[in-house]
């Protein structure tokens, strides 16, 4: 037994720490093969889906031309709001839910901030409030506060006192003020800032911390794992004490001690151009790229599933890869309505993908986290849930 342990140790050492030994039957991640799509034909007010947010039995969809509510149980668009219905502005770029009150908060791309509650929209903009700018890219609910990522700084609305706080280069470590994404979890606000990496605001201490690209150069990434992948970031999600970051220059993960960057050239990420992301855990994140969905299903082994649709038919496929080695290709019925992915959410076992041409709902029946031994899904799986 002791000899076996020593042999195992030597084998591990020979392969190099952290590398997965090649296996004849590698452990594989869960692959979503059941998808449902929503387009204008299904009732969406617009197919350019800027934001999607799952809220228990409800799914909120923010588009370039209105807000939609999908009832998950019936699988149908049950209600749509446009400007004619009181929606303050047509383009919705971010959605978050205040679970304490049930309020739906909307970042309006060019319209500021809106709250949908009790069937009524309330509207905050530059002319009636302290919001720093109307071009809002993201919104996050933090306790009684609402944070808005705008093109000219971050704004925080205290919903109890009505007080606005503005964060710019004057009172936060923003090298640039062009906020792109905002996220709240576990006592920390994370701002993805175009030109300023990721900023972390600790709610308890009101202290800021910045994550910048250590090489400081726009045209190169000097070392893969030296820090945030680029200062131009598009999204940040903090979960299980891990920080996931998307950018137009690849994506990365920080576990509090080590950084790891992922590019198309060294992982299953289908493109380095990432509009957004969603994180299910510290080990799993989903990236919205311009060439499909890239889901890292097991960060520990760099195992990805890439989802794309065939441009000319109603078919899609998933490619499972580890590093750049393809482990499995699964043909399936239509998965994504379009390969240009704009927004993303995960909730329970399901995933929700906003594209430039409709919404996809991946149904996670039998979902499991990480990787495990399972037979390869070599047989073609045809027909989604639609």
């Amino acid at each position: 037994m002791k000899q076996k342990s020593i042999a195992a140790f030597l084998l591990t050492a020979a392969l190099g720490f952290g590398q997965t030994p090649p296996a004849a039957n590698p452990k594989l991640p869960f692959v979503y093969t059941k998808w449902k799509q929503f387009t204008k034909a299904d009732g969406l007010p617009n197919e350019h889906v800027f934001a999607v947010k799952s809220d228990g039995p409800r799914l909120w969809v923010g588009t370039e031309g209105g807000l939609a509510l999908i009832d998950k149980k019936s699988g149908k668009v049950t209600k749509v709001w446009t400007e004619a219905d009181g929606l303050p502005w047509r383009a919705i770029s971010g959605i978050d839910i205040n679970h304490k009150t049930g309020e739906v908060w909307l970042a309006l791309f060019g319209g500021g901030l809106a709250r949908f509650s009790g069937g009524r929209f309330d509207h905050w903009h530059q002319m009636n409030s302290g919001i720093v700018n109307d071009v809002a890219y993201g919104v996050a609910v933090e306790n009684d506060n609402i944070w808005v990522a705008t093109t000219a700084g971050a704004s925080r609305l205290n919903t109890v006192s009505g007080e606005w706080t503005i964060y710019t280069e004057k009172n936060a470590p923003m090298e640039e003020i062009w906020n792109y994404g905002v996220d709240y979890r576990d006592g920390k606000i994370h701002l993805a800032v175009w030109g300023s990496g990721v900023l972390e605001f600790d709610v308890a201490s009101s202290r800021w911390k910045d994550y910048l690209d250590p090489d400081g150069e726009m045209e190169i990434d000097l070392y893969r794992d030296d820090g945030i992948v680029h200062v131009i970031t598009t999204g940040a999600k903090y979960i299980d004490k891990a920080l996931w970051v998307s950018s137009y220059f690849g994506v990365c993960r920080y576990d509090g001690r080590n950084w790891r960057a992922y590019y198309n050239m060294d992982s299953g990420l289908p493109s380095d151009f990432n509009n957004n992301l969603a994180a299910r855990s510290g080990n799993e994140a989903w990236f919205a790229t311009d060439k499909g969905v890239g889901a890292i299903m097991d960060a520990a082994s760099n195992t990805w599933v890439t989802y794309t649709r065939d441009p000319k038919s109603n078919a899609g496929k998933a490619v499972v890869s580890r590093d750049k080695t393809v482990l499995e290709t699964i043909e399936m019925g239509l998965n994504l309505p379009n390969n240009f992915i704009v927004s993303m959410d995960v909730d329970g076992n399901d995933v929700f993908v906003g594209t430039s041409k409709g919404l996809a709902w991946g149904i996670g029946e039998g979902y499991y986290a990480g990787v495990k031994d399972r037979p390869k899904q070599v047989a073609e799986i045809r027909g989604g849930a639609k």
Binding site: M218, I220, N339
Partner: protein
């Protein structure tokens, strides 16, 4: 009826030969691109022969960042593509009465949020607007949007000083008064804000006035620039100051805004990488008039050349105060100093001043002469660099619109895939894989009451070795290894 049709066709054929060449383009390349981008379904992505380069921004190996290390990844060498469904958007119906092109720039005096003082760029923006207006008026005189024979309409908005207003204005041009493409702007922060909105709303923006190198370093497939940037001007100035003249201690004085901060960045980095680190860098508040502190520090640093980056007024005031204190060091500036305002304030001190400059206004070119003539006739004033580049940028948009049709993605495609330089009045404008103007830049020198413009070759300015292989796949090449 047939006669009228024939006459119309003849007119069309004639106009196609006119300058600027914004009419129907029957070149094999344009026709091939149109064949590839037309009649696509929303999920199809055309093969557009993406540009791939081996060297970023004509950077010589000895000034590349971290030159002793092979980087893990290089960006901007492969052109960004647009993979969304926009090409399948249908054109508007016959109810359309004009083809709206947006203009955003600093054209009205206001309070500058960036500086807290008076805005300062409207003198530049107004000229850019005039260049754009002339291009639109000429196009309309030639029939406007040729496919429907309806006029182009210039939708003009101001973005001066107020950072936030830029985003709101581009939102307006994207959704409320939709433009097919947009020209703008000058302020670097505003430009960045504008292209972020343009990216999400998918409308193409041509920039003709922001020389901030980082503007284009954003991986946005919805923008391009038709003016040589501060990286190119900085490289030429450094090559002149260090490789040719051998200055050892360069001092920098600059505006404390983004234009000043990013404008000198390549000069600082290049000087350091060439073993002549900048001795001192002093910033001043935009709009200021007293530079005693900065000049005192420059003197104490014992510099042998001084670089200024900022607006013309401050450049001239700094120069005058330097000379007044007896400092005779050579004075180098950014292109904004090449202006009447600078020479009027600087007076005799302007003699010998050298500026980086994005083009050569003394170039012998009948199209440039014609542009100048028509500009003066229209506006009773000389066109400056902002007018000339605004004219070129707008003509590029008009060419793309006339040929791509009323589809924002296709307008983008035509500009992005053009492999031949645009024949601008500012010279040839070749767009790089990062969609930046990689045309020649020049040094402007003020001699005997006028600016003269000089190429690298004319002044025999040496340059470092420009590698022909990307950094990731080549060895650690250096100038010495050539």
């Amino acid at each position: 009826m047939k006669l009228i049709a024939l006459l119309a066709l003849s007119t069309l054929a004639l106009t196609a030969q006119q300058y600027p060449p914004i009419g129907p383009d029957n070149s094999p390349e344009t026709q091939e691109i149109l064949r590839r981008i037309n009649n696509l379904g929303p999920n199809e992505v055309p093969d557009l022969r993406l540009k791939r380069e081996q060297n970023y921004a004509k950077t010589s190996s000895d000034v590349e960042p971290f030159g002793g290390v092979k980087p893990y990844k290089e960006h901007f060498l492969l052109q960004m593509e647009y993979t969304g469904p926009g090409r399948s958007e249908p054109e508007p119906g016959p109810e359309l009465k004009s083809v709206r092109i947006g203009f955003i720039g600093p054209i009205m005096a206001t309070v500058s949020q960036a500086t807290g003082g008076k805005s300062h760029e409207e003198v530049l923006g107004k000229k850019m607007l005039q260049g754009a207006q002339l291009a639109i008026e000429q196009a309309n005189a030639r029939g406007g949007y040729v496919k429907r024979k309806i006029p182009f309409e210039l939708d003009i908005v101001n973005d001066n000083g107020l950072w936030g207003s830029t985003g709101n204005e581009v939102i307006t041009m994207a959704y409320k008064r939709p433009a097919w493409a947009i020209l703008g702007t000058i302020d670097s922060a505003n430009s960045h804000i504008a292209i972020r909105v343009a990216l999400k709303s998918e409308v193409y923006m041509m920039n003709s006035g922001d020389t901030d190198p980082t503007f284009i370093e954003t991986n946005i497939p919805w923008t391009g620039r038709c003016i040589g940037d501060d990286r190119q001007q900085g490289y030429l100035l450094v090559d002149y100051m260090i490789r040719k003249m051998g200055y050892k201690r360069i001092g920098i004085i600059r505006a404390s805004n983004r234009y000043g901060r990013f404008g000198v960045r390549e000069i600082k980095d290049s000087a350091r990488r060439l073993g002549r680190p900048v001795a001192i860098e002093m910033a001043y508040k935009v709009g200021g008039s007293d530079f005693d502190l900065q000049i005192q520090r420059l003197r104490e640093a014992n510099v042998d050349a001084i670089v200024h980056w900022g607006d013309a007024r401050e450049s001239a005031l700094v120069l005058n105060q330097l000379r007044k204190t007896g400092m005779k060091q050579p004075y180098f500036t950014s292109d904004r100093s090449v202006s009447k305002e600078f020479t009027e304030i600087a007076g005799a001190n302007a003699e010998g001043v050298i500026s980086g400059y994005p083009w050569n206004p003394d170039r012998k070119d009948p199209h440039l002469d014609e542009f100048r003539k028509e500009f003066i006739a229209r506006f009773k004033d000389e066109p400056d660099t902002y007018a000339a580049h605004g004219y070129d940028g707008m003509n590029m948009l008009l060419w793309a619109t006339n040929n791509a049709g009323l589809n924002r993605a296709k307008i983008r495609d035509l500009i992005a895939t053009r492999s031949t330089p645009w024949p601008g009045v500012t010279g040839a404008i070749p767009l790089s894989s990062a969609m930046d103007d990689m045309g020649d830049v020049f040094l402007a020198r003020f001699d005997k009451d006028r600016w003269t413009y000089h190429s690298r070759e004319e002044l025999q300015i040496p340059r470092g070795y420009i590698p022909t292989r990307e950094r990731v796949s080549r060895g650690l090449e250096t100038a010495a290894a050539k």
